[in-house]
Amino acid sequence: MAPPQRGEVGGQGGQDPPAGVSVRVLLFAGARELAGTAEGVLTGLPADTDEAALLQRVTEAFSLHAMAGTFILALNQDFVAAGDALRLRDGDEVAVIPPLSGG
């Protein structure tokens, strides 16, 4: 686990920098069934990260390898585009979004 490069970045005064950020992860549809859970928590994430790294962490943590490449993420209810740089804060809501089929 890579330590955060700058301790001050988190902005959550009182947090211990090396502990990293923890986020809530929501899973839907096929991802929910594959992971066997609708919700989980990821801890120890670097505050400054990017889409690829977060996708990697989520895939590993919830054993989503079988559907890797078919889902994207949403951070705090906004889609994350490929290659986006992300700044995570404690309590952020990350969602695993498989192919949509509404309507």
């Binding site: 839907f28 078919t70 949509l100 089929s101 309507g103």
Partner: protein, 383 residues
């Protein structure tokens, strides 16, 4: 006014219509998506919808704002059903009202297309027998098709010369697909308009303009029962190479070919003086013949020969001359269409010799032929 709902019970379409209706609106357009009982030959037993509710509401709100930025609509109501939905029931209803129908009709189409692509809702189909089920994928859901395809390409070319990571400072066009598409369409529209403009300026309705170099003036004239709708006016030059006498003439090789027009004029004077007395046809006919001969460059070519006395011989010469000219420059054929038809009419009686055969005659002919063949074949085989 936007009315957005995710409901677990049946959708009440009439209620939605009331939500968006207004005395100022002349149109209420509605899309209702209902569940189908089949997919690729399998019988669908039931469907289950699931949503990322917070985000779905947020993105539906965003969709409403988007619609309002594009069309002038009054009320928008979007209702999506969640949980189990029986076959034939409505899973989604979109109702939009507007002053006139165009806006609401277009907005409804846009709304359902965008909703399928952007609002996080999922559908699972359960099939009859074998406990089979599947999460569906909307074709509008863009990242599905592109991501795996891209990764496959990268894998295939990883040992080739494709650069995997392009430094961001080298990327000049950073617009997304929709923006690129819009730009290309705008460019095509612009080009089309440009071409149309210059075509109209050059070819339509200003035959006499000094600015245009076009030699035709085409005006669209719709004609019932005809495929051609262009009325074309051809330029008929009063001067220029096309109006000059043609110097080749099969009967007179060369001596008079230098300045045809001048010689024509001289000839005219001479003829006026001499021929009038010798010819025995009425003066008006004589003048018309002479003018025709001069016009077609006949006299000057026959410098060394007298004009035939016989009117019919002169007419024949004129006809030959016309046929010759037509053969040399086909663009005159539209003026002279009647001339070539004379020939086939002359030949017809020679070409077709009619003979009437009776049935007996035909039978006899066939028997004769059979005999000939019979007699021939053994002879050939023996020799």
């Amino acid at each position: 006014m936007d009315h957005l709902k995710l409901v677990k019970c049946e959708i009440n379409v009439v209620e939605l219509m009331k939500l968006v209706s207004s005395p100022s609106c002349g149109a209420t357009s509605m899309f209702v998506g209902t569940t189908r009982d089949n997919f690729e030959g399998k019988t669908v037993k039931k469907l289950i919808y699931e949503a990322y509710e917070g985000m779905a509401e947020k993105s539906m709100k965003k969709l409403c704002d988007d619609i309002r930025s594009r069309w002038k609509v009054h009320g928008i109501a979007i209702c999506h059903r969640l949980g189990e939905v029986a076959i034939e029931e409505a899973s989604i209803a979109i109702v939009i009202s507007s002053e006139h129908r165009a806006e609401s009709l277009q907005a409804v189409q846009y709304a359902i297309d965008t909703l399928k692509a952007e609002v996080p809702i999922w559908k699972k189909e359960e099939y009859e027998g074998s406990n089979e089920s599947a999460w569906k994928e909307n074709k509008e859901s863009s990242w599905i098709k592109t991501e795996p395809a891209e990764s496959v390409v990268c894998d295939d070319d990883s040992d080739g010369d494709v650069v995997d990571i392009v430094p961001p400072d080298l990327i000049q066009v950073k617009a997304d697909d929709a923006e690129l598409k819009r730009r290309m369409e705008a460019f095509m529209d612009f080009k089309r308009n440009q071409v149309n403009f210059s075509n109209i300026r050059d070819f339509c309705g200003n035959a006499n303009s000094e600015l245009s170099c076009a030699r035709v003036d085409a005006v669209v004239v719709r004609q019932k029962g005809s495929k051609g709708h262009l009325r074309v006016r051809r330029v008929l030059n009063k001067t220029g190479p096309q109006t000059q006498g043609i110097e080749l003439w099969p009967q007179a090789a060369g001596p008079s070919s230098t300045t045809p027009l001048m010689q024509g004029k001289k000839q005219k004077l001479e003829v006026a003086a001499s021929v009038n007395s010798t010819s025995d046809c009425p003066p008006a006919v004589e003048e018309r013949l002479r003018n025709a001969e001069l016009h077609l460059g006949l006299n000057q070519c026959q410098n060394n020969r007298p004009v035939p006395k016989d009117v019919y011989a002169r007419l024949k010469d004129l006809e030959d001359r016309i046929l010759f000219l037509e053969g040399v420059s086909p663009e005159y054929s539209h003026v002279l269409t009647k001339v070539p038809k004379i020939e086939p009419e002359d030949k017809k009686p020679r070409l077709f010799k009619k003979r009437v055969y009776s049935v007996d005659d035909l039978d006899k002919k066939m028997r004769d032929l059979e005999n000939v063949i019979k007699n021939n074949s053994p002879q050939k085989s023996t020799t």
